[in-house]
């Protein structure tokens, strides 16, 4: 025989102040946790896409990112010796893409252009679209090799000003070459969506560069990328190679550190919330000693009493949690859901959008309910062990 949920509900209503204050504590903690969870989800999913294990990034030995790597044309041609490289089925061309990375300082949309950010500009040739298979033009068309045109990743187009189709953007070392935006591309929400792509020779010319920054190699299916990496780093080629996944893992070390610290602080806050719930429930139990004794007298077993108090704190936690989720959604909708992360190694910006996914919200709600029930375990236990006779005798 269990106590009806309505009993708990009425009690929560009877002590409005306490219920609301406890709910607000929970809401603050859940709201913050939801935001952190969404942030790290957005970052993870962006980086997870980059985890194409058959794609190898080649840099100059000693370079720490594409931005500070410089591969001469000779260096690049040493990659021709590489075996196990995938080939274009029609032309037979090896899928090795020479690329150059420069940057442009563009105003952010989210604060009305008050601040600027370093946006990566990547010079590529046609083979790049066969190496980076997840890059697809979703609007407009690819840049032509004959005229100064660029395509822009969808995240970059949303977060930085002046990157709509038809806009012109000034690139090059003097910031004086006008390139027309002719298309937007997606990359399965990977980091490349924060970039601007143009034709390699045109961009090298504009930036007065004579060497490439990096090369991407797609290995043949069934070939172990580790073997190819060993070959590239070996004495005959002498370049640095790593899978794209490893590269991005390294580049995001800093932000992961921040996230870790933030989560730690959120956990401390969560602990404060648990104490707060426990406090409320102790008071609730203490105030209802006689009532519990009466319930026991009319036949409710100890575990029904225990369950009832746990349910009560679960309702409280869930309500607070929902409030927190709503708060988080409102925050994202009003303050903004776009974030960008400046890579200390890449010197470029990785832009992404944060949204509270149903899954993240569910995780937050389930955990807060469990945590809330955890906090009320001791008071509920005390309630269940109320000595019937003496409690009834008390005034």
């Amino acid at each position: 025989m269990a106590l009806p949920v309505m009993y708990n509900y009425r009690h929560l209503l009877a002590h409005k102040t306490t219920s609301i204050l406890t709910m607000l504590v929970i809401a603050a903690v859940v709201g913050l946790s939801c935001w952190l969870l969404s942030f790290s989800n957005a970052l993870e999913s962006s980086l997870a896409v980059a985890a194409d294990e058959t794609k190898i990034l080649v840099l100059k030995q000693g370079a720490t990112s594409e931005s500070n790597s410089s591969i001469t044309i000779e260096d690049f041609h040493r990659l021709d010796q590489l075996t196990g490289v995938a080939r274009d089925p029609d032309t037979g061309q090896a899928l090795i893409s020479p690329e150059m990375m420069v940057q442009v300082f563009l105003p952010r949309v989210r604060d009305g252009g008050k601040t600027n950010s370093n946006v990566a500009v990547r010079g590529v040739t046609e083979v790049a679209f066969d190496v980076h298979t997840n890059v697809r033009v979703v609007e407009g068309r690819r840049f032509s090799v004959a005229s100064p045109e660029v395509i822009v990743g969808v995240q970059a187009s949303k977060q930085f000003a002046g990157l709509m189709i038809g806009d012109t953007v000034a690139l090059g070392s003097g910031n004086d070459r006008a390139f027309t935006v002719v298309g937007h591309f997606s990359a399965d929400s990977g980091p490349m969506e924060s970039e601007i792509w143009g034709y390699l020779p045109a961009l090298m010319n504009a930036s007065t560069r004579e060497s490439y920054s990096s090369a991407y190699v797609r290995v043949k299916e069934g070939v172990d990328p580790a073997e190819a990496i060993e070959r590239i780093t070996g004495p005959s080629i002498e370049l640095k190679a790593e899978t794209e996944a490893d590269y991005w893992r390294f580049q995001s070390l800093g932000i992961r550190g921040y996230l870790f610290v933030a989560s730690l602080l959120a956990a401390v806050m969560g602990l404060a919330a648990v104490l707060s719930i426990a406090n409320t429930m102790y008071a609730t139990v203490a105030g209802r000693t006689q009532e519990v004794a009466m319930l026991r007298t009319i036949g409710y077993p100890r575990r029904a009493i225990l369950a009832s108090f746990l349910v009560e704190s679960a309702i409280l936690s869930l309500a607070g949690g929902l409030l927190g989720c709503i708060g988080c959604i409102l925050w994202l909708a009003t303050v903004g859901n776009t974030k960008d992360m400046f890579g200390f190694f890449t010197f470029t910006t990785l832009a992404f959008e944060i949204s509270l996914t149903p899954k993240a919200a569910a995780i937050a709600l389930v955990s807060v309910t469990l945590v809330g029930m955890g906090g009320s375990l001791f008071p509920a236990w005390r309630a269940a062990r109320t000595p019937v006779v003496s409690a009834l005798r008390e005034p």
Binding site: L21, N68, S173, G174, G257, M269, F342, F347
Partner: protein, 390 residues
């Protein structure tokens, strides 16, 4: 008087569980507050030190990673031939760098040897250290943090592998270690050494990443910010000039905007503390309605009751606050945690004044949280309250 103190003490000790839980629920947010604002303070100090140096930073207009020609230095110097307003111009070449297989990226710069000491006069080098900088071609001045981390001392021979050409280890001799006032993670070595290495490998020379321009006064700083950019406008190498504080701040805010996020975090937790304290105080008053009515009937004034509730809340919250402020203070001043490496600000300094500020916050939490319960206690209508006792 005595009686009231006894009553306060009894009130807090009659429900030890509630007092303990509430104190802890306030102590934890105070811990977060102290830590967050210590970090923000670290950033502020870093920026203030940068601002005090009256230096401008000249970068390439399009992007900080694009180089500028070394020839810009002479042109900037010619803006003030008297050398009374522009004191010194130093070109810096960023080479990043790593030590051995350590994953951490250093911030190492090749500096014009003749003007480095003048431009970075905040590196208070001794006479002999200065002499060594000029004499030893492989001289390097290392930041205090970097020196600590790798155990480098003056006189040591060290190797750093640049992240840019030549990409292979270069040997240096440490001639000086920066003080804690200087940027702890930046190292400077002589550009002539770097240029020689670059010539050997046929790499690009005569390029710098940015120039630092030491000005005489604040007015000069503002004046030349515009004038330098005007000088190079419409040339192939346009510049962007900012004062050092703005330049450094753009780095900090671009990377996750930590100060802003920490502020939001700290205030959310203070909100949690207020709610937790308010909850406890309102429960306390609710449980004691009868007693309060009795006190009223004995002649305690409304103001007295208001003060009584506020004092109780103050004791509760400041008690929690002392615990909360003591934890990070002890942890970061008396344990190895104090030497932990924090990016940019190097070590987290938890100052006593920050903890005192947290106690004030705790007191604020107390007053705010007890406001409604205290007013309701003061307003207790005598007759109804006494009747409710039964």
């Amino acid at each position: 008087m005595d009686l009231r103190i006894t009553y306060l003490y009894r009130n807090l000790s009659r429900n030890p569980m509630r007092t303990a839980l509430t104190s802890a629920a306030i102590a934890l947010p105070i811990v977060i507050y102290v830590l967050s604002f210590s970090v923000i303070q670290g950033f502020d100090d870093f920026l203030d030190r940068a601002a005090k140096q009256l230096r401008l930073c000249v970068t390439q207009k399009t992007s900080i990673v694009n180089p500028l020609p070394t020839g810009h230095r002479r042109k900037i110097e010619f803006l003030d031939e008297s050398k009374t307003r522009i004191l010194s111009v130093c070109g810096l070449r960023w080479v990043g760098g790593k030590v051995g297989d350590k994953p951490q990226l250093l911030s190492t710069m090749a500096a014009d040897p003749d003007t480095f000491l003048g431009t970075f006069s905040d590196y208070k080098l001794s006479e002999s250290e200065r002499a060594n900088w000029f004499r030893e071609r492989r001289a390097i001045v290392v930041g205090s943090g970097t020196a600590n981390q790798f155990g480098w001392k003056v006189g040591d021979r060290v190797s750093i592998k640049p992240s840019l050409p030549p990409y292979k280890e270069m040997d240096f001799i440490v001639v000086a270690v920066g003080s804690s006032e200087n940027d702890p993670v930046t190292n400077f070595f002589r550009a002539d050494y770097y240029e020689d290495v670059m010539k050997e490998i046929g790499g690009p020379t005569d390029k710098v990443s940015f120039f630092f321009v030491k000005c005489a006064t604040k007015e000069d700083l503002t004046h030349f910010t515009a004038e330098i950019d005007e000088l190079f406008a419409r040339t192939p190498d346009e510049t962007k000039t900012q004062d050092e504080k703005t330049f450094m701040n753009s780095f900090i805010t671009q990377q996750f905007n930590l100060p802003r996020n920490l502020t939001i975090l700290a205030f959310t937790t203070i909100f949690v503390a207020v709610m937790a304290a308010a909850n406890t105080m309102s429960m306390n008053i609710r449980d004691r309605m009868g007693e309060i009515a009795t006190l009223r009937s004995l002649g305690f004034g409304r103001l007295g009751l208001f003060a009584l509730v506020q004092t109780e809340s103050l004791l509760l919250c400041v008690g929690g606050g002392v615990i909360g402020a003591a934890i990070p203070y002890i942890a970061f001043n008396f344990t190895p945690l104090g030497r932990m490496n924090v990016p940019l600000i190097q070590t987290l300094i938890v100052e006593g004044s920050m903890c005192a500020q947290a106690l004030l916050i705790a007191a604020g939490v107390a007053i705010f949280a007890a406001m409604v319960p205290a007013i309701s206690a003061a307003r207790t209508p005598l007759v109804t309250a006494l009747r409710n006792m039964e």
